[in-house]
């Protein structure tokens, strides 16, 4: 609080650290104590900061906590503990990352199936008798081709 206007520096320190001057760092505390003795304006601003701090304290103290709130929170956690044991594996599957991996796998399987279908179509288009042989001997075709 040595540079510039000492009252403005004091106000800045009040805004940074609050009005409990006794908790300020040593150098600032000593300067503030001197200022509070010598300056009515410093005392006025300190009073204003104390009033604001008291109001802020009252804001927390009067927060409208509904009756039975802690009991409901405990009951909610208890319910989640019970539910969590049952649905955790399902929830894990539903996580976005898992869903993405599953989508990629499904898309890969679909693409593989399509490629194999294309191979078969190409084989059918040729005159090579071995292609027919391959088709007829293929037991591993996807179910979608069965019966065609």
């Amino acid at each position: 609080m040595t540079n510039g206007n000492p009252i403005e520096a004091f106000q800045n320190a009040l805004d940074r650290r609050g009005p409990a001057v006794e908790l300020w760092p040593d150098g600032q505390r000593a300067a503030a104590a001197t200022l509070l003795v010598t300056s009515p304006e410093a005392r006025r601003r300190h009073g204003e900061a104390e009033r604001l701090q008291a109001l802020l304290g009252a804001v927390l103290e009067t927060a409208p906590i509904r009756p039975g709130a802690l009991g409901r929170i405990l009951a909610g956690i208890d319910a989640r503990r019970g539910a969590g044991r049952m649905i955790d594996p399902l929830r894990a599957l539903m996580r976005p990352r898992a869903a993405f991996v599953l989508t990629v796998i499904a898309a890969g399987m679909f693409a593989l199936g399509a490629l194999r279908g294309a191979d078969i179509a190409a084989s059918l288009g040729g005159d090579d008798g071995d292609s027919y042989a391959m088709l007829s001997s293929s037991d591993s075709l996807p179910a979608i081709f069965e019966g065609e």
């Binding site: 940074r16 409990a20 009067t62």
Partner: protein
């Protein structure tokens, strides 16, 4: 645990990690109301605050086994979770309002009857309205500093920012409140 009331937070967390429900309930009893007060004033809704604090304590229960005694104070960790949940919740609500293109009003404060009498006193209600208009991080820093229980260093840990950043948030928040108070005073005169 024989006497949860006499146990430290670290002892209660260790017991909760072993499945001791009484120890966990004691932690909730010890710190839940302050967490609810901060969340209620941050969000402006007692029911939203309950959901946030329930989520925070669910995380306490779920991760109690990973707690390292002496590394941080439990209230500091708890308030960090609560404040982050509040900020996330408000951000999501704003996004929803933005994309729904509806003029949805801010949640109304659900005051208990006894509080209405106090809040009707005027100045307190005006300060609360001023706090609700502050940006999220300024509001969080101010509410955490309001009780006088936490140092700026502790608030910095709770908000995941530097101590200097907390001081800056508090300066801007307190200036805004002071400026609003002076404006109202000017209007009255």
């Amino acid at each position: 645990m024989h006497d949860p009331a006499a146990a430290t937070d670290d002892m209660l967390l260790a017991a909760a990690a072993r499945g001791d429900e009484a120890a966990f309930a004691r932690l909730l009893e010890r710190h839940g109301k302050r967490a609810l007060a901060v969340a209620t004033r941050f969000l402006g809704s007692a029911s939203d605050a309950e959901e946030v604090v329930q989520e925070a304590f669910w995380r306490v229960w779920s991760t109690a086994g990973r707690w390292r005694p002496g590394e941080a104070a439990f209230p500091t960790w708890l308030h960090r979770v609560v404040v982050n949940l509040c900020i996330d919740r408000e951000r999501r609500a704003k996004l929803r309002r933005f994309f729904s293109l509806e003029a949805v009003p801010e949640p109304a404060e659900e005051a208990a009857p006894a509080d209405r009498q106090v809040e009707a006193a005027g100045e307190l209600a005006q300060v609360m309205a001023d706090i609700r208009r502050l940006p999220g991080k300024q509001r969080a820093a101010l509410l955490l500093a309001a009780s006088g229980e936490h140092s700026n260093q502790a608030i910095a840990t709770m908000l995941g920012v530097s101590e200097k950043a907390v001081e800056s948030l508090l300066v801007r928040a307190r200036r805004s409140l002071r400026s609003e108070a002076r404006r109202r005073l000017g209007e009255e005169q």
